[in-house]
């Protein structure tokens, strides 16, 4: 069994990676003589590269016979998108993008107050530190009301199982008032040497108002 010179040349180039045209490959694969030549060309290659088994055996007929009863394999091919599907996809993407842009601009739109502030900025004078420290920030009633609100909020959140130890501690510590005289008396006690005899770090006296 042999093939024409043209077919042999095509088979030779195909085994070296040059893919023939579809029609040519169809005719080669359907031609039993061409398939036999293809097998022998590879046998020669295997012999040159010392890849032949110790004992030669041609399995192609056995395997073809075994596969004759097998259902033809068909791999699922990825579906190509139609023009209509591409258009719908583009429209959805464009809509999402437009909504995102509008939402962003709405959030960033300046309020009337901030617009006025932008147009006529008020001169801000930095107050002296002593004035800030001495100025009553909140009236006592209002402060007490806010503290109660904070505590109620903290308890409510705590009842829901959330970790609110830190805010609760802040609220409580904010309510504790330590007279300056007591703080001044506690400082020297804390500065005494401990049992091991090591010197504690110096504690600075609180500033007097």
């Amino acid at each position: 069994m042999s093939v024409s010179e043209q077919q042999g040349l095509k088979l030779s180039c195909f085994m070296d990676g040059e893919i023939p045209a579809k029609a040519e490959l169809d005719s080669l694969s359907q031609d039993a003589a061409a398939r036999a030549v293809w097998g022998r060309y590879h046998l020669i290659r295997d012999a040159v590269q010392n890849e032949l088994p110790e004992h030669y055996c041609d399995l192609s007929d056995r395997i073809s016979a075994a596969l004759a009863d097998e259902p033809t394999v068909l791999a699922p091919r990825p579906r190509a998108m139609t023009t209509w599907q591409k258009a719908v996809g583009f429209a959805v993407a464009a809509s999402v993008f437009a909504v995102a842009i509008v939402s962003f601009q709405t959030v960033q739109q300046p309020t009337v107050e901030s617009a006025v502030a932008d147009v006529a900025p008020m001169p801000v004078m930095a107050a002296p530190v002593s004035q800030v420290a001495d100025a009553p920030v909140l009236v006592d009633d209002e402060r007490a009301r806010l503290e109660d609100m904070l505590i109620n909020h903290t308890e409510a959140v705590s009842a829901n199982g959330l970790n609110v130890m830190l805010p609760y501690a802040r609220v409580v510590s904010d309510r504790i008032e330590i007279p300056l005289e007591e703080a001044a008396e506690e400082a020297p006690v804390a500065a005494e040497p401990n049992a091991s005899g090591s010197q504690p770090a110096a504690v600075s006296e609180p500033d007097q108002p």
Binding site: V48, E54, R62, I63, E70
Partner: protein
């Protein structure tokens, strides 16, 4: 294994054809790789008839699994793994097979099977194998020098057609023609042995 030994472009084309339902394209893959696969399996299994059976089983498994082959690895690498697994499974099934029968009543061939020394290939077939190798070597040695050089640069050194053209200082078309003529000349010596 270098790409030039397997031709990944060729395999990809054939695999795509099989996946579209072309069984003949799978026959081309079988003819291309059967000797290498049997050489591989023979490293695991000594019994010669079992080598052929396991190789056939590996190719059939590969055919059934081809719809799931996505080309992430080269086809030959994938086929190689299937063949090794088939050989290992075969060995495992052999080791699980109960050896309860007495050897007294067995024929010499069955005894040889048990010892793993069997050779179901006929003496003619063994002669053919040795003769095949000898004929191929002799045919290559007798090729005109430019044909032999082109063929060996391709098959042993793995050069592309472009590289061979550069080495041999000739057009690529001449390289194609020389390699084909070399294969054709060797094939004319081999083909009569295959048809006996």
């Amino acid at each position: 294994m270098g790409d030039y030994k397997t031709g990944p472009e060729t395999d990809a084309e054939l695999v795509a054809r099989v996946q579209r339902g072309d069984k003949r394209a799978f026959d081309l893959l079988v003819r291309k790789y059967q000797q290498r696969i049997m050489a591989l399996i023979s490293r695991y299994i000594r019994n010669r008839s079992e080598i052929a059976d396991v190789a056939q089983e590996a190719f059939i498994k590969a055919y059934r699994a081809l719809p799931n082959f996505r080309g992430d690895s080269q086809f030959y690498t994938w086929l190689y793994r299937i063949a090794i697994n088939s050989a290992k499974n075969h060995l495992a099934s052999q080791s699980r097979r109960p050896q309860t029968a007495s050897v007294d009543g067995l024929e010499p061939e069955q005894l040889a099977d048990l010892a793993g020394q069997t050779d179901n290939a006929s003496p003619e077939r063994l002669l053919l194998t040795a003769e095949l190798k000898r004929e191929i070597d002799a045919a290559i040695a007798e090729l005109p020098e430019e044909l032999r050089t082109a063929l060996l640069l391709r098959e042993i050194d793995g050069l592309s057609y472009e590289e061979i053209a550069e080495v041999m200082e000739c057009p690529i078309g001449t390289v194609r023609s020389r390699i084909f003529r070399a294969r054709d000349a060797v094939d004319r010596r081999v083909a009569p042995l295959m048809e006996t």
